[in-house]
């Protein structure tokens, strides 16, 4: 199925947000995730299933400034 990840359409296997993070080798603790403009609680990453057409945003920490 197709989802949009950070604005870019991608074909993915389906499953939960946690599965997607694992497939992309992203450590869940280093990202905030929005699905269809809704911020997910970290506890819900493994229970939120992705659907065709979902818009997923990965917001990574960005710490620099100096």
């Amino acid at each position: 199925m197709q989802v949009k990840i950070n604005g870019k359409s991608e074909e993915i296997q389906g499953g939960t947000v946690l599965d997607l993070l694992a497939a992309k080798k992203i450590e869940p603790q280093m990202v905030a995730v929005e699905v269809n403009d809704k911020m997910l609680e970290r506890d819900h990453l493994g229970t939120t299933r992705l659907n065709d057409g979902d818009q997923v945003e990965f917001l990574f920490y960005m710490g620099g400034g100096r």
Partner: protein, 279 residues
């Protein structure tokens, strides 16, 4: 207050703007803006805010200028290496515009001093390089009820967002707490393309001026991410989180606290790096 002929000349390109005018320029002249960090983001912000004629600019930084800073921290020049950043910053600001008062805080921001310092300002700009300080600034702005212009830069990526406490999403609404130590490559070792500090810091200054003038649409509830490799901006919509530990319906953070390790989240700590690559 009345402007002198020289000031009217100096600020004429602002005064010409219907959204600013003489009235707006007076608001700028009365404004007090605090820059936490006189480094990469703080440098362009300080220079543009000084040029704009901001009445008081506060600079908080406990560091001295290092040679490795000069690749992006344009407030500091080669002869400043080894000198206090706030002092070097004050000199550049006042050389650019003697109308500007500069308050220097040559100290680290802590839970102990943050509220007292913040209470004197209208807007706070985050130009720090570590998550502990970013969360502390977010929390202090909430408790002091001060608008915050948050910024972050890393490698080729930058981010800006404006936070109006109790009205728009705060940093904790999105990122609950600093990342666990060692997970996020950031700060000292990851590197950053110098111009990115100029792009993001200048947007932060723009946001601060808009807040002072009360014009336009602030960058609230939106994270503006910039990718310098693609020269592409993206806007990510965020919302206040009712479960936010700070500004949610049932807050668990009810006072300021120091989150311990200022370099939490960095994979390499500055004090363990060889001098040659230390930032």
């Amino acid at each position: 207050m009345e402007f002198t002929d020289e000031q009217i000349s100096r600020y004429s390109r602002h005064i010409l703007l219907p959204e600013v005018g003489g009235k707006g320029q007076k608001k700028i002249a009365k404004a007090k803006i605090l820059l936490v960090g006189a480094g990469g983001l703080g440098s362009p912000a300080a220079l543009y805010l000084a040029a704009a004629g901001v009445g008081t600019i506060g600079l908080i930084d406990s560091d001295v200028v290092d040679l490795t800073n000069l690749q992006r921290q344009i407030l500091h020049h080669t002869p400043d290496v080894g000198r206090s950043k706030v002092l070097s910053g004050k000199e550049k600001i006042q050389a650019l515009n003697p109308d500007v008062q500069v308050s220097m805080y040559e100290e680290r921001l802590t839970a102990g001093n943050a509220l007292k310092i913040f209470s004197d300002y209208d807007v706070v700009i985050d130009g720090v390089d570590n998550f502990t300080a970013k969360f502390l600034i977010n929390d202090a702005c909430y408790f002091a009820n001060k608008p915050l212009v948050h910024g972050g830069i890393l490698r080729f990526d930058g981010r800006v967002t404006t936070i109006i406490p109790k009205q728009s999403a705060c940093y904790r609404c999105v990122f609950k707490q600093p990342p666990p130590a060692g997970l996020v490559a950031s700060c000292q070792e990851a590197g950053v393309i110098g111009v990115l500090a100029g792009i993001i810091g200048t947007i932060q200054a723009t946001e601060a001026l808009k807040l002072v003038l009360g014009i336009g649409r602030p960058l609230t509830n939106r994270m503006l991410d910039f990718d310098a490799r693609k020269t592409q901006f993206r806007e990510i919509h965020v919302k206040r989180n009712p479960k936010c530990a700070l500004c949610g319906d049932h807050p668990t953070i009810t006072e300021l606290f120091d989150d311990g390790d200022p370099y939490a989240g960095c994979t390499v700590r500055p004090d363990t790096q060889p001098k040659a690559v230390r930032l």
